[in-house]
Symmetry: C2
Subunit: 341 residues, 2 copies
Amino acid sequence: MRKLRNRQWLLKSRPEGQVATHNFGYHETEIDPHQIDDGNFLIENKAFLCAPTMRNWMDPPSKNLYPSISIGTPILAPAVGKVVESNNKQFPIGSRVSTLSSWQDYEQIDPTGRPVNFVAEGLSSVESIGKFGLNSLTGYFGLTKVGLPKAGETVVISAAAGATGSLAAQVAKILGCRTIGIAGGREKCTWLSEEIGLDGVLDYKIDKLNDGFDHLCPNGIDVYFDNVGGAMLRTAVNHMAKFGRIILCGQISTYDSDQAASGPEDMMRLIYGSIRMEGFLTRNYTAEFPEAIKQLREWEKEGMLTLKEDIRDGFDNLPKSYLDLFTGQNRGTLVVNIRPD
Amino acid sequence: MRKLRNRQWLLKSRPEGQVATHNFGYHETEIDPHQIDDGNFLIENKAFLCAPTMRNWMDPPSKNLYPSISIGTPILAPAVGKVVESNNKQFPIGSRVSTLSSWQDYEQIDPTGRPVNFVAEGLSSVESIGKFGLNSLTGYFGLTKVGLPKAGETVVISAAAGATGSLAAQVAKILGCRTIGIAGGREKCTWLSEEIGLDGVLDYKIDKLNDGFDHLCPNGIDVYFDNVGGAMLRTAVNHMAKFGRIILCGQISTYDSDQAASGPEDMMRLIYGSIRMEGFLTRNYTAEFPEAIKQLREWEKEGMLTLKEDIRDGFDNLPKSYLDLFTGQNRGTLVVNIRPD
């Protein structure tokens, strides 16, 4: 195999406040497919998931435990690809895998350093990181493993029209919970109440959340799925029921800004309410991915789940497509397909 | 039985910032021991526990889920007393019970409205709310039920020389954890390192906590027992290990002030660290009190636990003794004995 042309999108400069196209720089290199370290394999990326949390990775290193992309290196991103060279028998040439890769055509992967999952049989590459990828799995594991909702409880989902939120909301319904969604704008709210069938919807652009919670959650919130953080989280904390659980999944209200995602205004409420707030990463449940994907596929087949993908094409479009996440222009899980199956 | 003279300390005014003796007012009433509602009993209080969190109860009603003492009514307080009249067969005359009562000689108790525990055989009244009372039980249940420490893990206890903190620290040692205590001043720190035998001690009055954690907890904090809140909590959050647990027990740094107990400065660390923060009330574990008290008594008998009581005498001294909690003048669990056994 001769050297391979490798297109890349690099982090050219760190965003100050909002991320913009000028923070990304295009570059090309060559990859020698014969220089693969023992135990590693070479992946040819097929599609990338655009995840909001990648914005955090563009910040300078901090104590926040997340990776910080170095200036001049490719943008880290969840990806699906095909193994094209391998020095690891567990990952033979031709396998399709999803893992944390980066915005480039090829990358050498050390599977001891990051979780690598095989694409389930019957799924397209795009589906494996889209409909049945990390966004959906995050909603599923966050709700079921961290939120531990019981039938009849009141569950509130923030960013409920998003890929993660809408999955969590639908699973909460399936589990028999009274489910309230928060979203921005009439189109999203109508979709949540009429198509998804939630028990209540709050439009944060026009509704006062405090009054909305008083009205829709008179006995308090048992489980709050926090994708947003900030003022919305603080208002939710004031409405949590005793023994309530707050699933700390994301803080998108602060990602694309200079501000840190500050916490509750009064911890005493957590104490007297015996309230639990718990952060999690979906990769904590890697071993359970296959079973979860099987469950989600079944529910989708039975018409119990609506999973939205927003598929863009072309390596060139990566930065532009990514930015749509922060202006709400995507409709469901945003995937950029660079090499169709 | 004729009418009983009933001395009271009332909340005369709400503290603005620091609580002071002028916030309390002395009053006397008479109690008719024959007017006891069905199912209730009359308790003759023998001793009161002075608990820091009572300061919160002196604030106006809020969304914080804790009681707010009405102006002109007796100060709510954990107490031990003797049943002197009863319309409830479960609580016959002569029983000794601990419950939430208030600063007065007599109070009619409705046992359906609050937990009531019988004093364990062999314990004095003072011991039942002192050494083996709520402060110790709070340390025990918070550490074991919320913190879930495993042998070999690093546990950090704030206010570690206090009644709750020192119990939690000693139990952490018994469970095989590397245990670091934070306290203020040389006397307390020396006691913790030399008599209690902690693995490390930080004096928040002179040590920089950030550097101290770097030095004493190089692999991060697995369990943080938070009695203090505020800046100390925020620094600890930045040093939590992955899958760390923060036991939200108290926020004493803000009780005696006009400020709310604000939370972490960046929730992202909780997300990427899969960190859990959980509030609790000791009364959640009421059913397990007898077993826990038995365990603590055994450990004390075997010389594995040092339990400190600071016993004051006299009803008249209640407000003054209570204030000592906030100036650090107490040495261990502060109990005011108004009617010796």
